[in-house]
Symmetry: C2
Subunit: 71 residues, 2 copies
């Protein structure tokens, strides 16, 4: 798996859980205290997210951080 | 848990697995293609690591990325 593939995988997983929760990108960004456009960029694997922001997204989605790395 | 705590938890886990593998920071940095001082900073939670570098460390330690978030 090349370096960028991990970002794509992560982005897909965030989008999947966000939709399960019936949250818009805007609602998730508000809960996570991140910018709405940032959530879009993460879901599209356009940004190399940091651990602190991964943690914020996990908390906002109310999942264990590890679950963001489930296949 | 405050924001920085996730970095501390991650750093402790990296150090723990690195020692289980009998690797020095230098050896790990070489395998992960990261700078030796960077590995030290990660283990001491002095840097907010990015997902691409988390992935590099997981591969260098030969663990599933999720295992870096085990308690």
């Amino acid at each position: 798996m090349d370096n960028r593939e991990i970002l794509a995988k992560f982005g897909r997983r965030v989008r999947e859980i966000r939709k399960e929760r019936n949250l818009s990108q805007e609602e998730l960004s508000f809960k996570a205290d991140l910018h709405r456009t940032y959530i879009g960029m993460i879901e599209r694997a356009e940004k190399n997210i940091t651990l602190i922001n991964i943690d914020k997204i996990a908390k906002a989605l109310n999942v264990d951080l590890k679950e963001l790395f489930d296949e």
